[in-house]
């Protein structure tokens, strides 16, 4: 091969390698994006079934219950308009508290129960996870939208 051909081959190889890496990254990225939904959106069936997503809101007061096995916990997450039941196995984070903000990641079952495999309730007493705050803020507009859909 002439030097020029070698160089072209090397560049072509580089471009192919870069393309493979980019394709790999983007497909992994696409598959693993986790979207966020508010409880009202979940009730309005905007959230996907069988795909992992996040919900956020407040832990409804008086809703936290341990099931008979002692390890599974059940609670309601609310955005003040709607609430959905969530189950989680294991230890809840230190700052998980009734009436405080929470974000849960998991999948929605056919029975309408959200099975979380991760519960986040970080930050201090006065600070709410932004996603939870967002859910509460958006509750009225989602409700409005739902009402409009009903009227039509």
């Amino acid at each position: 091969m002439k030097p020029r051909h070698k160089r072209i081959a090397a560049i072509a190889l580089g471009v192919v390698a870069l393309g493979v890496v980019t394709a790999l990254v983007l497909s992994a990225f696409q598959e693993n994006l986790v979207f966020f939904f508010t409880p009202s959106q979940v009730v309005a069936q905007e959230a996907p079934q069988g795909r992992t997503f996040r919900i956020g809101g407040m832990v409804e007061k008086g809703s936290v219950r341990r099931q008979a096995d002692g390890v599974t916990v059940q609670f309601l997450v609310t955005d003040t308009a709607k609430s959905i039941p969530v189950t989680y196995r294991g230890q809840l984070p230190d700052l998980f508290r009734e009436g405080k903000g929470v974000v849960a990641q998991g999948q929605l079952g056919a029975d309408g129960v959200f099975r979380a495999n991760e519960v986040l309730a970080k930050h201090d007493e006065n600070y709410m996870p932004p996603e939870a705050a967002e859910a509460v803020k958006r509750a009225p507009e989602t409700a409005e939208k739902a009402a409009r859909t009903l009227k039509q």
């Binding site: 070698k6 090397a10 580089g14 390698a17 870069l18 890496v21 790999l24 990254v25 992994a28 990225f29 598959e31 693993n32 994006l33 986790v34 979207f35 966020f36 992992t52 996040r54 341990r66 096995d69 002692g70 390890v71 196995r89 294991g90 230890q91 809840l92 230190d94 700052l95 990641q105 970080k122 201090d124 007493e125 600070y127 996870p129 932004p130 996603e131 967002e134």
Partner: protein, 642 residues
Amino acid sequence: MIPELGQIALSLALAVALFLSFVSLYGAWKADASLMSFARPAAQSIALLVAFAFGCLVHAFVVNDFSVAYVATNSNSALPLQYRVAGAWGGHEGSLLLWTLILGVWMTAVSLFSRHLPEEMSSRVLGVMGLISAGFLAFMLFTSNPFDRLLPAAADGRDLNPLLQDPGMVLHPPMLYMGYVGFSVAFAFAVAALLAGRLDATWARWSRPWTTVAWMFLTVGISLGSGWAYYELGWGGWWFWDPVENASFMPWLCGTALIHSLAVTDKRGAFRSWTVLLAIFAFALSLLGTFLVRSGVLTSVHAFAVDPKRGVFILALFALLVGGALALYVWRTARIGLGGSFAPVSRESFLLANNVLLAAAAGTVFLGTLYPLALDALGAGKISVGPQYFEAVFVPIMAPALFLMGVGPFVRWKHSSLPELAVLLRWALAVSLALGLLLPLAMGNWSAMVGFGLSLALWVVLTSLLSLKKGARTRSHYGMVVAHIGVAVFVVGVTLVKGYEAEKDASMRPGDKVELAGHVFLLEGVASVAGPNYQAARAKVSVSRDGRPLTVLHPERRIYTVQQSPMTEAAIDTGFTRDLYVSLGEPLERGAWLVKVQYKPFIDWIWGGCLIMALGGLLAASDRRYRFGIEKKSETFVEARA
């Protein structure tokens, strides 16, 4: 009174920093030796002034001066002394002061160990660093002054976040910042070389030891943070791909690429423009790391500060420093030249592949970390990118890098032959594949992932040891071998933890037993104990194996009294081949407790590997060829012969 002295010291430091950047940059431009002679004393006085201010802040913490707003928010009179001192960098303002102090330390080091450099070069380097410190001092004085008074003074402080009350937290930020800020030296060298318009091999050689030492600190800092998360957060994870962790990982990846690329520029004069660009990016990512963590744009354990005004200031500073450097780069790039040519099979091209892979890795972390933020900022919805993404892309990108790591040291500069390499390395390849695939069988549970990971780690170890026989007998070569073995140890740890870890959540009453991975955990009882600033429920868990008692663990669930915040304090039995990890959850009905037990095989190898990597960096940086100008000649001679 003392806080005001600190404030005055900071203002003086700002003035001196502006003076320094003017005299040294203008002086170097005009080749005015009398102006440039101010550079060293000015750099050292900035360091002294900032150190004095830092001392004032620590003093305010030690004497519980709650009339200082920053002390009132981050300390409490019941806080033990060592955490009051560490509290000085537990919040936004104090950590910026620490950043600036460490910049002063690096500037002093440069001023002391740059006597063999041409006066213009050292002067420009100090000038650029002076500019950076001026930016940070102004940022501190105008938006986040640690000495702001609180009127009337608070009766007591709001306490340091309980998560930060830990020995790991005392060391983690200074180490991390030594790394972040250390990259400012490489950045300053690159900008100085661009300003001078001379981008030959010399600047690369000068900045090599600095870059390696900064990288070493960053490695230690990141592993300390990871270790802290492991035992303090109580979940038993060691890396969460959390944006804050990623923020420190990106400069590390970029810095690792820089170390390798600097080697090529130093030895062969090639990759010049790429090396300069990497030096700029490594520091840009360090700044971004500081910005992400400290401006409160992230939702994460670490982002305790929430104030967008500061974000705008840091963004402006970022644009000025990085944008300026990049503009200079574009302007000068035509002059840089390409350097030595090389064949497709040569040390250069292997290091190029290393750089491409590391840069790709940094890019994927960047995408996964910043895309959700960008989307959120644009109001296009809230998404998050989980660990699955990073794991899915990291293995395919890093596996070839590990393979090449074994071959690279045997490839000659300029040109090498593949068949020769194959003959040289065939036994190492065969042995590592055979052993790597058989070992998981011996551990009782074969999996392709574990076999693959162990093979790669063995491959790196065997080839590294083999290269000791063939390579130069210099400290930089030994340093490389040690660092590469550190990577292999790290890979073993990650592979075996991922492959064989086990965990169990159980509701336990005193007298109950749980079995996990051959170990029996017996909850003997839970007692209530009082700490200096917390109340705790303390469990006694005895562990036995095959009927023989092994150890007794005491996990706690603490309530810190000032903020009434609960904290899980896990108990860990550390071993060479495994950790046993017990954390105490919430109390359940009828005297039962939620207990989580975990079995973590070889997890300590992860941090051990990082420390070995850092040790390798230290060895390489201490090579005498970097130390004295006089010895450079004899070294060149040796190299010419080799």
